[in-house]
């Protein structure tokens, strides 16, 4: 078993194959996918996404795919995972690459407006009809890239596991350590998708207040950090990421919403809650 890891898109990228000879090629396949994704979906550079304007327009296959996945997540969660939070994300201060964010900044009086315009976004094939909103596909695009890359690498080389900042897509069964290093962790065997959403990562201060990157579309502000981390296992990484993000947004209501999805939730007191057959 051989693993390769590097940094891209502001997160640690890690790919592991059972066939040692396949690792480097697998990494190249994954990196190619990430470059395509960055060129299409980045909020922080001249990308296809930043060139979008309100109205009808054709979009390329990668951006179309990422928008389709994001809208699907919005439908699945009834808008708890909302791809139209780009402006809200800017207003709370996440307006440049994370490493460029100042340690603190004055609060914006425009922050904190309810969102939820994803229902006005339509995608028909490669034709996007966009209202006057800014898209932020970050919640689901990396998970989708992990799924795509794992499928592609798996078809060529057999069992593989891909992680993009903790969004994991596994072909075959792989042992994965879950949980933040500052809390109790465990190793579970995963096949399919697994994602951990955290209110401890990608945090900054704005107007002297703690901020994190998981916004509640109902308020346009960072979700109340009831949970430190939420990990969900699912058939695909996209499905896992969608559910873990929605669970953070929901806060105390998350276990009931997760239902029979296998999930692991750690609250601020580091108490562990599990759902749906997650091993206790």
């Amino acid at each position: 078993v051989t693993g390769v890891r590097w940094w891209a898109l502001g997160c640690e990228v890690h790919v592991v194959t059972r066939d040692p000879a396949a690792a480097t090629t697998a990494a190249q396949v994954l990196q190619h996918r990430l470059e395509e994704l960055d060129a299409a979906c980045s909020r922080f550079r001249d990308s296809e996404l930043t060139r979008l304007r309100p109205g009808r327009q054709r979009v390329g296959p990668v951006l179309a795919g990422a928008i389709r996945v994001a809208l699907d997540a919005a439908h699945t969660t009834r808008g708890l995972v909302d791809p139209t939070l780009g402006a809200a994300m800017r207003e709370v201060g996440y307006d440049r690459t994370f490493s460029e964010l100042p340690t603190d900044a004055p609060e914006s009086d425009r922050a904190g407006r309810p969102q939820g315009r994803w229902l006005d976004v339509s995608l028909d094939g490669d034709v996007l009809d966009l209202p006057d909103v800014e898209l932020d596909l970050g919640a689901t695009a990396k998970a989708w890239a992990a799924d795509c890359a794992a499928e592609e690498i798996g078809a060529r080389f057999g069992d593989v596991v891909v992680s993009l900042g903790g969004d994991v897509a596994a072909i075959g069964a792989w042992p994965v350590e879950v949980g933040d290093p500052g809390e109790p962790t465990e190793v579970v065997e995963v096949s399919g998708g697994l994602a951990t959403s955290s209110t401890l990562r990608r945090t900054w201060r704005r107007g002297g207040r703690h901020q994190h990157h998981l916004l509640d579309p109902r308020s346009g502000l960072p979700a109340r950090p009831h949970w430190r981390t939420v990990t969900v296992a699912a058939t695909t990484c996209v499905e896992a990421n969608t559910a873990s993000t929605a669970a953070v947004v929901l806060g105390p209501e998350a276990p009931a919403w997760l239902g029979d999805r296998p999930a692991r939730l750690v609250d601020q007191e580091q108490s562990l809650t599990t759902t749906g057959g997650w091993p206790r």
Partner: protein
């Protein structure tokens, strides 16, 4: 022609020898890699110290397409298992709409982790 008992025994002995050879090769490979510092542990957690050997997430890393990755670190190496027919290959395209299918719950394992999911 049916194989004789002696033939069967020879085949079984040859198979045993091959398995041992493969195992010894694996051990030798590990020992060699360990001696050369290539094996860095079963799970190399990305600590601050370890990050010194790797690029850190800088603005440039996010803004510019990264070059094709070089293997920065071999996490660990051991003899690969034979690929099981049909197990690894799934459909070419991802299927994000497979929401109706429930994945089997993960199982706790004592195996060393090969990857981490600590949150993003």
């Amino acid at each position: 022609v049916q194989p004789t008992t002696a033939t069967t025994s020879r085949v079984a002995a040859r198979d045993r020898l091959r398995r041992r050879t493969r195992w010894l090769s694996s051990v030798t490979t590990l020992a060699t890699l360990a001696a050369t510092g290539a094996v860095t542990g079963l799970l190399a957690r990305p600590t601050a110290a370890a990050a010194g050997a790797e690029p850190v997430p800088t603005a440039a890393a996010e803004l510019e397409p990264a070059p094709l990755p070089q293997p920065l670190r071999t996490v660990y190496v051991r003899q690969s298992e034979p690929r099981r027919q049909g197990q690894a290959v799934r459909q070419q395209q991802p299927a994000p709409r497979r929401t109706a299918v429930r994945a089997p719950a993960p199982r706790r394992t004592s195996a060393p982790a090969v990857i981490t999911s600590s949150g993003s």
